[in-house]
């Protein structure tokens, strides 16, 4: 397979797997939670059915909203798709991987969050403002931990390019099990839970005023736009999980341009995603949602872990 064909295949596979797969992943997490709580729960493909149902419904816009409301879901999904397109999830050479800097990915995700927050404020309701305010607060507190943790990884691998970090972890197994990776993993798991809005940071299934964070921001969406928002959010979750999986456990990623390697890469990614989803679902079952003003403690702890990771990197050079 030529390099260009391989790159395009890798990218397309990534988008398809993360795009469709994350919806199934969310259904899988709901199923695990249901089983753990002694219920049967809805089928794993339920989110796909929800999206299909929503596409058939009517488009509704709130009275005082502007173009921002219909545009925001497109921006959320577009930034998520591009981020998945250029990240090394299935193979180490998707299209444009030379531009796949880890800061590009982080800030693309920030773009999506900002778009969602603006949409919440555009609806001119109290719920939208509340959701935006809380979501941006959590984002602002999680951002330092995320950036510093990612920088710890970049310092250890000598570059902030994702493909180089993945390759470097593959080649140096002492990095993979070293203290830097351990502490950065701890910090990034907390940040991923915060960014994707799972318990204990936010409950994705609630619609109570006092407890809504993310759901409040997208309360005004209905029909196809809600379907797009769901898809976009699912892709962000899939991207974050895949990044954590591949940055810390990169074994199985396709490094050569052959069909067998690609197939192995796909299988490895799916397996890693399922395991990570299982772990997060079990964390969700075991813990209760934290009060909004207890969240700074959690995120400050993640920040302390990230700083610890950088200092460990400095002392173990």
């Amino acid at each position: 397979m030529t390099t260009t064909l391989w790159s395009w295949t890798t990218s397309l596979l990534q988008v398809v797997i993360v795009g469709v797969g994350s919806l199934i992943l969310i259904g899988f997490m709901a199923k695990v939670k249901a089983r753990a709580e002694g219920r049967v729960g809805s089928p794993v493909t339920q989110p796909l059915r929800d999206v299909r149902k929503l596409l058939r419904k009517e488009r509704l816009h709130a009275h005082h909203s502007s173009l921002v409301l219909p545009f925001a879901p497109m921006i959320i999904t577009a930034t998520a798709v591009v981020a998945v397109w250029i990240s090394p999830l299935v193979g180490t050479h998707p299209v444009m991987v030379s531009g796949a800097d880890i800061f590009v990915i982080v800030y693309l995700l920030l773009t999506g969050s900002v778009a969602a927050a603006l949409a919440g404020l555009d609806a001119a309701t109290a719920f939208g403002g509340m959701g935006s305010s809380r979501a941006m607060t959590i984002g602002a507190l999680a951002e330092p931990a995320l950036l510093v943790g990612v920088i710890a990884l970049a310092i250890q691998s000598g570059s902030s390019n994702l493909a180089v970090i993945v390759a470097s972890t593959l080649h140096n197994s002492d990095h993979a099990f070293g203290p830097v990776h351990l502490f950065a993993l701890g910090a990034l798991v907390i940040v991923v839970i915060a960014e994707t809005g799972r318990i204990p940071v936010d409950n994705p299934a609630t619609h109570l005023e006092l407890t809504m964070v993310h759901e409040a921001m997208i309360l005004e969406y209905a029909g196809p736009e809600l379907a797009l928002v769901t898809l976009g959010e699912a892709m962000r979750l899939g991207l974050l999980f895949s990044l954590v999986a591949n940055l810390f456990f990169p074994w199985g990623v396709a490094t050569s341009s052959s069909a067998a390697a690609l197939a192995l890469g796909v299988a490895a990614l799916v397996a890693k995603l399922l395991v990570l989803a299982l772990v997060v679902a079990l964390i969700e079952v075991r813990s209760a949602k934290l009060r909004l003003f207890r969240l700074p403690e959690l995120l400050a702890g993640a920040f302390a872990l990230s700083v610890l990771a950088i200092v460990m990197g400095l002392v173990t050079r």
Binding site: L110, V114, A117, E143
Partner: protein
């Protein structure tokens, strides 16, 4: 050189036109001349940046005793270009903005003098010329702050703080420069640089510390920043734009010129101090920006934030230079300079937009705005571009510059010397902390100020402003986009400027096409391709939208939880938006809340009204400056007792002073 002198001539002509012409044609002619002056200066500086050879000219007649030496090397040319870009937009904006006191003789001519002074400061290459231009810049901006005091009640207090702090800073700079000049044969900067070798290390450190105090105060470094959030909001909007985009950068220019150019780097710990100031400013500025309610005050604190990041980069560059890593120092400095240019563009645009909003709605308070996306769509577009640039969203200039700064800091980790590692760690943590907080501040600005429903009469009756004001803000939005998509275009000129600052040779290129590629840390970004990808996906989504969903959207009432009516009062305000963060950081911000209850006349058990007010004052001002001021006032009161009116006492004072002078001289 010719272009630059021509630009200065046009600028002087514009100021003259402002004084001489009658009201009818004053603004138009003066601004036309001013805009041409800025355009010529831009041409001159770009020419200098591209060809890279410095020129010098000495004019003896302008100032007594020493004359003025003008010299443009790539570093100065960068700052002139920055000023010219913002000055051009400000002149265009002025055409639409000027009315009443701003269009008076003093308003127009002093504005042109301000622009002229800003163009001369980077080019001044002898001590007297530099100080003259510096003072002209300070005094003209002071007059301009007072020009609208009829409609702005806090302008006088702001002007007082500004005058006091800027003069104190100027005195400090004068002392520092005099110290450096004490061992030099003449006044030219070139001679000072040669003579600095004869100064002892302690003298050099003292000179740097003195000039750092003055320049850091001008750049808005905490704790010398107190004048900035007071003065920038009270000035007329084109002046605020110039002050925030261009005048504060003169502080950074001064630090670079004195620290590297004159004193040749000097001690490692100077630059650690600069970086520490930068980190403190960045975190403090972003925290206050998050909780500010006044649009322009928020922008002023955001300036402090970005200037803090720039100072961190400059400090990192200085540390790396002193530990021998010239390449990495140049990279860090390039990143700071790119951030400066990007900041000038997006902050200038945002200040101009703030002025448009204030003109259209009559208020700057974000709690009273809203719904402007329907009545002022162009302005909303411009503010979205500016806010997106400042939040460092990819493909805009803020992201490219912050990425380059991060890369410069990461390079520094490879060096194992402790000061470099401290600076890198602090810089990384500062960048991380301010990223998230800046996003909250600007989502607040766009979301609360422009989206939703209008929260006051003024916002509801807003009309789009004149085309000159929109054009000016749009002019400054263009560099934000261009620098973001194609940073590779300007990187070579930046590297020439950085090399000129550090006194090293020509640079190794870091551009790859329009993107950026760094050779030995193997990091790169390709923003143009990224934008193409995002637009492609958006187009695909729009197409799918059109194909799958035939019907148009129907307008309905928003979810009201059973309520019939939705009033604008039910929306979130800027204060409530930032309230969770304010609570988290309440130890640092120390908000003062006041609840006043008025009881009914008949009985104390019934309340007639309850008033809640909250105020976040600048902690540094309240804890350090006000006690200092009250101390000085007490000293002044004590000194008043020396003036008891007896003429014998006053004559005795004179006699004692004369005796002291005689004793000292002998």
């Amino acid at each position: 050189m010719v272009w630059y002198l021509l630009a200065l001539a046009f600028g002087a002509a514009a100021a003259l036109a402002g004084v001489v012409l009658p009201r009818h044609g004053r603004v138009a002619v003066s601004m036309a001349l001013g805009a041409s002056s800025c355009a010529l200066a831009l041409v001159a500086s770009v020419q200098e940046l591209v060809c890279g050879v410095a020129w010098t000219v000495h004019v003896t007649q302008l100032l007594p005793f020493s004359g003025v030496t003008l010299s443009l090397d790539p570093l100065a040319a960068l700052f002139v270009a920055l000023t010219a870009m913002v000055g051009l937009a400000a002149c265009v904006y002025f055409l639409g903005y000027a009315h009443g006191p701003t269009a008076s003789r003093s308003g127009v001519s002093v504005f042109m003098l301000f622009v002229l002074a800003l163009l001369v400061v980077p080019a001044a290459a002898n001590v007297m010329g530099f100080l003259f231009a510096w003072e002209l810049m300070a005094l003209s901006s002071l007059v301009l702050i007072l020009s609208e005091q009829a409609t702005r009640p806090r302008a006088r207090s702001a002007a007082l703080w500004y005058a006091a702090m800027t003069q104190a800073g100027a005195v400090s700079i004068v002392l520092g420069l005099l110290l450096v000049a004490s061992s030099a044969p003449g006044q030219d900067f070139a001679q000072l640089a040669a003579g600095a070798a004869h100064l002892s290390a302690a003298q050099r450190s003292l000179a740097f510390a003195l000039t750092l105090v003055g320049f850091a105060s001008k750049a808005g470094a905490v704790p010398l920043h107190v004048w900035l959030p007071k003065a920038h909001p009270e000035a007329p909007s084109p002046v605020s734009a110039l002050m925030s985009s261009s005048m504060v950068t003169m502080g950074v220019y001064g630090i670079l010129r004195v620290g590297e150019g004159l004193l040749h780097g000097g001690n490692l710990w100077w630059w650690v101090a600069v970086a520490a100031l930068g980190v403190l400013s960045a975190v403090y500025g972003s925290l206050h920006a998050t909780t500010a309610r006044d649009f322009k005050r928020l922008l002023a604190y955001s300036t402090i934030d970005v200037m803090g990041l720039v100072l961190t980069g400059v400090g990192a560059a200085g540390v790396l230079y002193d530990t021998g890593q010239r390449e990495d120092a140049r990279l860090a400095l390039m990143a700071s300079l790119l951030l400066l240019v990007a900041h000038a563009a997006f902050k200038g645009s945002l200040f101009l937009v703030a002025g448009s909003v204030e003109r259209a709605t009559g208020t700057r308070n974000l709690d009273r705005l809203g719904g402007l996306v329907h009545t002022m769509p162009t302005t909303t577009c411009l503010v979205v571009i500016g806010a997106a640039a400042i939040m460092a969203l990819p493909t805009l200039s803020g992201f490219s510059s912050e990425w380059l700064l991060l890369q410069g800091l990461l390079h520094g980790f490879a060096d194992s010397s402790t000061p470099a590692v401290i600076v890198m760690l602090l810089g990384v943590v500062a960048l991380a902390l301010t990223g998230g907080l800046g996003a909250v501040a600007f989502v607040k600005v766009v979301g609360i100020g422009f989206l939703g429903q209008a929260r006051s009469e003024g916002a509801a009756t807003a009309v789009e402003v004149s085309r000159w004001m929109r054009l000016a803000a749009g002019l400054l939005a263009v560099p934000s986009v261009v620098l973001g998509l194609a940073p590779g275009l300007v990187v070579n000129t930046l590297s020439r400027a950085a090399s000129a600052a550090l006194g090293v040779g020509a640079a190794s290129p870091v551009a790859r096409g329009t993107g950026l590629l760094l050779s030995h840390l193997s990091g790169d970004i390709a923003p143009l391709e990224l934008l193409v990808a995002v637009v492609a996906v958006l187009a695909a989504l729009l197409g799918a939208n059109r194909a799958l969903v035939q019907r148009r959207a129907r307008r309905v009432a928003a979810w009201g939880c059973g309520r019939e009516e939705q009033t604008p009062r039910m929306q979130y305000t800027a204060t409530s938006f930032a309230e969770p963060l304010q609570r988290v950081f309440s130890d640092v911000l120390r908000p003062q809340t006041d609840v006043e209850v008025t009881h009914a006349v008949e009985s104390r058990y019934f309340q007639e009204s309850v008033t809640y007010s909250q105020h976040i004052a600048d902690v540094v001002e309240v804890r350090s400056y006000r006690p200092l001021i009250s101390l000085v006032m007490r000293l002044g009161e004590g000194a008043r007792r020396l003036h008891n009116g007896s003429i014998h006492r006053y004559l005795a004072f004179g006699f004692v002073a004369l005796l002291v002078v005689v004793v000292v001289l002998s």
